[in-house]
């Protein structure tokens, strides 16, 4: 135990001496968190919309006012004589609303009057949102015209749970928090371990009376400390700027955070022990820590969307299980019944990393 602590202390001193590494370790996660969670968002408003009003009657203008009044659309002026496709080609608008001639007349007659919405679908997701919003505005306008009770016999009362304001910051914040934890501590751990192999200092460890387990545990402990420090800093940001709090029982979160810190630190040491070359180890961590967690953990889009041929990969991505725990703790509040399995899996994957790292470390001697 004493030797483990000594090893961890030595490692922490080494990190603290290199200001660039220390900056990377502590500041970059915060920068990443602020930047990515404000930038990754799909809730659009202020979408530029061109209206081509061929009717130009009071009723067509009233309909346009309904669009103008919404938060979602911003009406862009564009000459009516032009081709409807032009503003889309010029990237000046997301959609074009075309109101036909005799719109007002048809409305007064009480006929169903078609209005066309041409949507730029080169961004398919935004196109869906645009047409959804437009349909909703039209439906509300119809309802208003017919005096409020003209809506269909069935009314839907939609409740948005856990994030009623549809704040994407609150959804992506916890995800990026996990991404930061999965990226930086293992990066540092892998570099430190690969350095021992590169500079042959690992040989000194072999001749000392430190056992492989003690050496590895000491290293991992140091990076667990780093990970937990990052975690505290990022949590402060999540609680203040992002306005999140623990909504339920925080114990599953606390337990799995410690386990996850162990898991990522063990992953980094494993990579460093397996690939004793700093540049190559860095690439391996970038692949495992960043790419896999970024793409296959449900950070941005639900895992169910991934085609089955590569979806199975997400079962072995450790970040996936932790993201579920974090989102549960900060948004849903399901507590232990919802996430107990995840906590076990995180611990299990961490143990596997540790054992592989331990096995490879014994081989490091042969190569050094």
């Amino acid at each position: 135990m004493r030797r483990i602590l000594a090893q961890a202390r030595k490692e922490l001193i080494q990190i603290a001496r290199d200001w660039r590494t220390l900056g990377l370790a502590l500041a970059l996660p915060l920068v990443l968190l602020l930047l990515m969670s404000t930038a990754i968002s799909f809730t659009v408003n202020d979408l530029p919309l061109v209206v081509q009003d061929y009717d130009n009657s009071p009723s067509s203008r009233a309909f346009i006012d309904a669009f103008q009044a919404s938060n979602t659309f911003r009406i862009v002026t564009w000459p009516v004589v032009s081709h409807a496709e032009d503003p889309l080609i010029a990237n000046a608008a997301r959609a074009v609303l075309i109101i036909p001639l005799h719109f007002g007349r048809d409305m007064d007659r009480g006929v169903e009057t078609p209005v066309q919405l041409i949507v730029d679908a080169s961004d398919a997701n935004t196109a869906k949102i645009v047409s959804g919003y437009a349909a909703r505005i039209t439906a509300a306008y119809n309802q208003q015209l017919s005096g409020g009770s003209g809506q269909g016999p069935v009314l839907s009362a939609i409740r948005l749970w856990y994030n009623p304001g549809l704040s994407s910051k609150k959804f992506y914040g916890p995800g990026v928090f996990v991404l930061g934890l999965s990226m930086f501590p293992p990066l540092l751990a892998a570099l430190a371990m690969a350095k021992e192999g590169e500079q042959k200092t690992i040989l000194q460890v072999y001749v000392s009376n430190v056992s492989a387990h003690e050496f590895l545990l000491g290293k991992i402990l140091a990076f667990v400390v780093v990970a937990l420090a990052e975690c505290v800093l990022m949590l402060i940001l999540l609680f203040t700027y992002f306005g999140l709090t623990f909504v339920g029982d925080p114990t599953p979160f606390l337990v799995s955070t410690v386990l996850y810190a162990f898991c990522v630190a063990a992953f980094g040491t494993m990579v460093g022990a397996t690939i004793p070359n700093q540049a190559a180890a860095m690439q391996a961590v970038a692949l495992g820590g960043f790419l896999l967690v970024f793409l296959l953990s449900g950070l941005i889009f639900p895992i169910d969307n991934i085609p089955p041929s590569i979806r199975w990969l997400s079962n072995i991505v450790w970040g996936r299980y932790y993201i579920e725990v974090v989102r549960d703790a900060l948004l849903q509040g399901g507590g232990w019944p919802a996430v107990w399995l995840n906590v076990w899996i995180i611990g299990g994957i961490g143990m596997i990393f540790y054992l592989i790292g331990w096995k490879n470390m014994r081989r490091m001697q042969l190569r050094a």
């Binding site: 007064d108 935004t126 949102i129 909703r136 039209t138 003209g150 009362a157 509040g333 919802a338």
Partner: protein, 389 residues
């Protein structure tokens, strides 16, 4: 023109270029690591990042237990958007299931549902959505409303509304209804991956060119041969041109490989001129290379260069509108995209591939990309000599 080229590519530059090519040729790993990973990454990103909202698991609480309520459930779950996951006995149980993540949405049909319908009263159905994922929730909400609206339309045609109408006609005037008819241009099948891969394309170009060039530029410094290079009769500009040429050739090959993936794996349509695409790509690669060079001049080792690019690349990629719409960014960040090469390139790729836009609408993006590239190349030439002090 020929004279111009002769002046730029004079015998010194040619000799230096040959030296760089020889160096790169010996480094097989670099060539392979330049072509292969981007292709894999592009494929992975394209498949994994799909915003498609389908098969949302739906839980039902049917307190009405009537043919009418079962019809509503069938209407909701037979679409591709929702999948029936199970029935629950009470709203509390359903809430529990949502909070544990077993279902994503729930519908509660009240006990007087069928009775109200038959009497011509308006009845309210509660729809619960797990809004944790805002994108899924926004689109799911649209779907649910759409299904219920079309269900209303069927009911109306069956005559249910004839009972409702007289009430509304009493206070409203005689008014028609607007029917909105959306048409989706350029991507009528709403394929998500087209947007993702065209964005990732630019990201990969910038990312790889900056990393590779910073690694290869800093190598000269690590090995201590940079003094020899600067002592040679060649000017800094000539050295930089020579250093950039082989990387440029390799990265162009990578761009070609990525284009093949775009076309064959993802079947992105090709409406416009390839010329714009290649010109934009070339500018993008050049600005990436010079960005890497600038990073390299600030670093003492390959390690530091790598770490610095970790600082530079995330903001560049996340604030570009390459992976998500620019309108979704905070308003004060939106103007900053003008300074972002990834943004301009993504705009060029999307417009020229999918919409077939010409130079008349693309010139601002080319201008932005061109200025950015010019400034960075000049900066790298200036920094290259400075780095020794």
């Amino acid at each position: 023109m020929k004279k111009f080229f002769d002046r730029i590519f004079n015998y010194r530059v040619r000799a230096l270029i040959r030296k760089e090519f020889n160096q790169i040729r010996r480094d097989r790993r670099l060539a392979i690591s330049l072509i292969l990973p981007p292709v894999v990454q592009l494929t992975l990103f394209g498949f994994a990042l799909s915003a498609n909202v389908t098969n949302l698991r739906m839980g039902i609480v049917d307190e009405s237990h009537t043919p009418e309520s079962r019809e509503l459930v069938a209407n909701l779950t037979e679409s591709k958007s929702f999948r029936l996951s199970g029935y629950y006995f009470s709203a509390d149980q359903l809430g529990q299931a949502i909070s544990e993540g077993r279902v994503e949405t729930g519908v509660v049909i009240p006990y007087d549902y069928a009775r109200d319908l038959s009497r011509g009263r308006t009845t309210t159905v509660q729809v619960l959505l797990n809004a944790m994922n805002t994108n899924t929730a926004t689109i799911g909400q649209g779907y649910a409303e759409g299904v219920i609206q079309s269900y209303n339309a069927t009911l109306r045609s069956q005559g249910v509304e004839t009972i409702v109408r007289p009430v509304s006609a009493a206070n409203g005037g005689h008014h028609g209804r607007i029917s909105l008819q959306p048409a989706f241009l350029y991507n009528p099948g709403l394929v998500d991956s087209w947007f993702t891969v065209t964005g990732v394309f630019g990201l990969l170009l910038i990312l790889n060119s900056s990393i590779v060039s910073s690694a290869s530029m800093v190598k000269e410094r690590e090995a201590g041969t940079i003094e020899q290079l600067l002592m040679s009769p060649a000017t800094t500009t000539e050295i930089i041109i020579a250093k950039m040429s082989p990387l440029f050739v390799l990265l162009s090959l990578m761009m070609a490989a990525a284009l093949v993936v775009l076309k064959i794996v993802f079947d992105v349509p090709f409406q416009g001129s390839v010329l714009y695409l290649l010109a934009g790509g070339a500018l993008c690669i050049l600005s990436g290379i010079s960005m890497g060079t600038v990073i390299a001049t600030f670093s003492k080792s390959a390690m530091q260069a790598m770490l610095t690019s970790f600082f530079v690349n995330p903001p560049l990629s996340s604030l570009s509108g390459a992976l998500n719409p620019i309108e979704a960014m905070p308003a004060w960040l939106q103007p900053l995209t003008v300074l972002n090469p990834v943004h301009h390139f993504a705009a060029i790729v999307r417009a020229s591939m999918m919409k077939g836009s010409g130079i008349t609408s693309l010139w601002p993006n080319f201008l932005g990309l061109g200025i950015f590239t010019f400034v960075l190349v000049s900066l790298s030439v200036w920094r290259f000599r400075k780095q020794l002090s």
